[in-house]
């Protein structure tokens, strides 16, 4: 087993400022400080002299346009889940370690991705492209990976002895031990894990408690632990609220790009695609514009999804400013990369019939797609039905029209000439559907050829029943 730990120090900031463009200075407040002080700032704010620990008033004095926000725990959890979804393409066992870490079991993926350096390269490259600052470390047990990611970014240890050597050098304050235990150990003069590991177990347990001892065991891989596996969700929903109301479609593009990217990550994790998603642009609490974005075939590429969403949003007219945007995708069909036959040239998307059938029914309903069956019955209305395409052997060779009217209707004007007939059809007295008709093939003044009937024995009351189309 090789556990990789990804640590996202900027997660809290990114979650709280989902819709903030990069060049706008922003600052995140300290979690539960009595005084309102700045905890994290972005580079734009840093450039203007805003620093960690300043009070909001001081920061505002340096930079009047500073956007200040408190932490948004729900958004952080959402963003972490989004990142878990993205990482799911690299490992089948992902675990969330809130508030800002993800654990991946990488051992099983090493062969597929051609070793750790290739795998970590892909991870780092992908996360950099997504714009997430991160630290990565890997170790044989998850707790150690978690601790190492905080201290030694980029370190990877495969062997337990090597892992222990690295852990020895970790300062107690960064060891992940409960704050109370760290305090106690520091007051006894211990500084690093090495010194703590050297202590006899019963004495140590007495000082830091069972919990602290268990953590140290987990660090060294002495205690087995169950890591809860993250499961990709079945539908996708995301919402971004704006501080100010946004006028027009242009400012919506930045959050839209983020949302479609998140959707694409989630699809990649599920190995699925999306054929229809809805954008909901909220104007006030009760009024909103809903824009469905549908596509010909299930897609999962971020750029393509964004392109589609952008064109739809630009085309729609927004009657009021937007204050929040939501994206919903309920149906996530399986994504099929086009199948390729080794010898035959591929035609089109290379779908097979069942996939096409499924796609058509999904959009238009179950009854939209039908097949016809012929039935051995003389009555025209009963000589066919919707069915599976089965046919009795062809018995009747008299001409029949390709088009049958759904219901016979009076023929006006009456036929110009009779081309063939009459053919009497008299049947059905036994099942209540009896009819007695004389069918003719007739021509109209426009040169159309029709199938029409008169009640048996009668000379007027022409009824049109079909076209020889």
């Amino acid at each position: 087993m090789l556990w990789a730990c990804l640590r996202f120090p900027g997660l809290a900031f990114a979650a709280a400022f989902a819709a903030l463009p990069e060049d706008v200075p922003g600052a995140l407040l300290e979690d539960n400080a009595r005084r309102r002080t700045v905890a994290i700032v972005n580079p734009a704010a840093q450039k203007l002299g805003v620093q960690r620990g300043q009070t909001v008033a001081a920061a505002r004095a340096l930079c009047p346009s500073l956007v200040v926000r408190a932490r948004d725990k729900a958004a952080e959890a959402g963003l972490l889940a989004e990142l878990a979804a993205w990482c799911y393409q690299f490992s089948g066992h992902i675990s969330m370690a809130p508030p800002q870490c993800l654990l991946l079991e990488a051992g099983a993926s090493l062969r597929l991705f051609d070793g750790w350096s290739a795998l970590s390269g892909k991870l780092k490259q992908g996360l950099a492209a997504l714009g997430h600052v991160h630290a990565l470390a890997a170790a044989p047990c998850p707790a150690a990976a978690w601790v190492l990611a905080a201290s030694f970014d980029g370190c990877v240890v495969q062997h337990p002895e090597q892992m222990l050597r690295l852990l020895n050098d970790i300062a107690l304050s960064r060891s992940g031990l409960p704050a109370k235990s760290v305090q106690a150990l520091r007051s006894m003069g211990f500084r690093r894990l090495r010194e703590v590991f050297a202590l006899p177990r019963p004495e140590l347990t007495r000082r830091i408690g069972r919990e602290g001892m268990h953590w140290l065991d987990r660090l060294r891989g002495h205690a087995s632990e169950a890591i809860p596996a993250w499961q990709p969700p079945a539908t996708f929903f995301q919402r971004i609220e704006f501080d100010a109301e946004l006028e027009g479609s242009e400012p919506l593009m930045f959050p839209l790009r983020r949302m479609t990217q998140a959707l694409a990550n989630m699809l990649a994790a599920r190995d699925g695609g999306v054929q229809l998603f809805r954008l909901r642009l909220e104007h006030t609490r009760v009024s909103f514009t809903e824009i469905p974005v549908g596509m010909a075939a299930p897609q999962r590429e971020a750029a393509r999804l964004f392109e589609l969403a952008r064109t739809r949003v630009e085309r729609s007219t927004l009657h009021a400013p937007v204050r929040a945007i939501e994206i919903h995708a309920e149906q996530l069909p399986t994504f099929r990369p086009p199948l390729r036959d080794l010898f035959d040239p591929v035609r089109g998307e290379g779908l097979d019939w069942s996939a096409l059938d499924e796609r058509l029914r999904a959009r238009m309903g179950e009854s939209a797609l039908r097949q016809l069956s012929a039935v051995a019955d003389h009555r025209p209305e009963r000589a066919w039905r919707h069915g599976d395409g089965s046919t009795p052997p062809l018995a009747d060779l008299r001409p029949r029209p390709l088009w049958l009217l759904h219901r016979p209707r009076p023929m006006r004007p009456t036929p110009a000439r009779v081309l063939a007939g009459p053919e009497r059809i008299e049947s059905g007295w036994w099942d209540g559907g009896d009819l007695r008709r004389d069918y003719y093939i007739v021509g109209t003044r426009q040169g159309q050829r029709a199938w029409a009937y008169l009640p048996a024995g009668s000379h007027d009351g022409w009824m049109l029943h079909g076209w020889f189309a």
């Binding site: 096409l356 066919w384 599976d388 088009w403 426009q446």
Partner: protein
């Protein structure tokens, strides 16, 4: 956007000049060579003779413009559809205006197991027709879309090319004067008790004006 632009550019840039000149829409006076149009026989020798490639063009959109119901406009297509279904290739009817009558189809030689019928509203009809064409698993898709616009026609033409399928669209003859991206346009009309089939546009048509084909006496 740039990715799409690059893709388009690439698809334009890749073929060599010789390949470009092979396009059935291009004919040079100096060459004796007839541009090739891939086609499937209509089953009617006199109609085949009037069409470049000798039949319905494959991987392209054909339009059949008819004056009225019941002139034999669907009969034109039946031999080809029958041949396709007998080879176990699928044929789709999209939004037919009346009930396709199974006994008559059977009599025309169609294997009903490979014929499907799609009921749809006009917008859904255009979408489903495009889907079927694009999928690559349908031999022919026949649609009745009375109010289709130029853009959708173009989409259908592209979809037919993508899926290498035979697309046939039935429309009213009043649209004959409008421009259309279809590779083949036929007009079915009636005068003096006889039905005539007129080729009003055909990609790769070499000889001049041919007299209309007389179909039903």
């Amino acid at each position: 956007m740039s990715a799409i632009a690059a893709e388009v550019q690439q698809s334009i840039a890749t073929p060599s000049l010789a390949q470009v000149l092979e396009h059935p829409g291009i004919w040079r006076r100096s060459s004796q060579h007839q541009p090739t149009v891939r086609a499937i026989s209509t089953g009617m020798p006199s109609l085949d003779a009037r069409l470049p490639g000798g039949g319905w063009p494959l991987g392209a959109l054909s339009e059949i413009l008819f004056e009225n119901d019941g002139l034999g406009e669907l009969e034109l297509l039946m031999p080809t559809l029958a041949a396709m279904t007998r080879e176990h290739r699928r044929v789709i009817f999209v939004a037919p205006p009346y009930q396709p009558y199974a006994p008559a189809l059977q009599a025309a030689g169609v294997d009903l197991r490979f014929l499907h019928e799609i009921h749809a509203t006009p917008t859904e009809a255009a979408w489903s027709m495009e889907q079927c064409l694009r999928s690559g698993c349908c031999a022919a898709v026949v649609g009745w879309l009375p109010d289709i616009d130029y853009r959708s026609l173009r989409r259908l033409q592209l979809a037919a090319e993508t899926g290498d399928a035979c697309a046939v669209l039935y429309r009213s003859a009043v649209h004959a004067a409008q421009t259309s991206p279809a590779a083949l346009r036929l007009k079915v009309s009636n005068s003096n008790e006889a039905t005539y089939v007129d080729v009003i546009k055909s990609r790769g048509l070499m000889q001049g004006v041919t007299p209309p084909m007389r179909m039903r006496a």
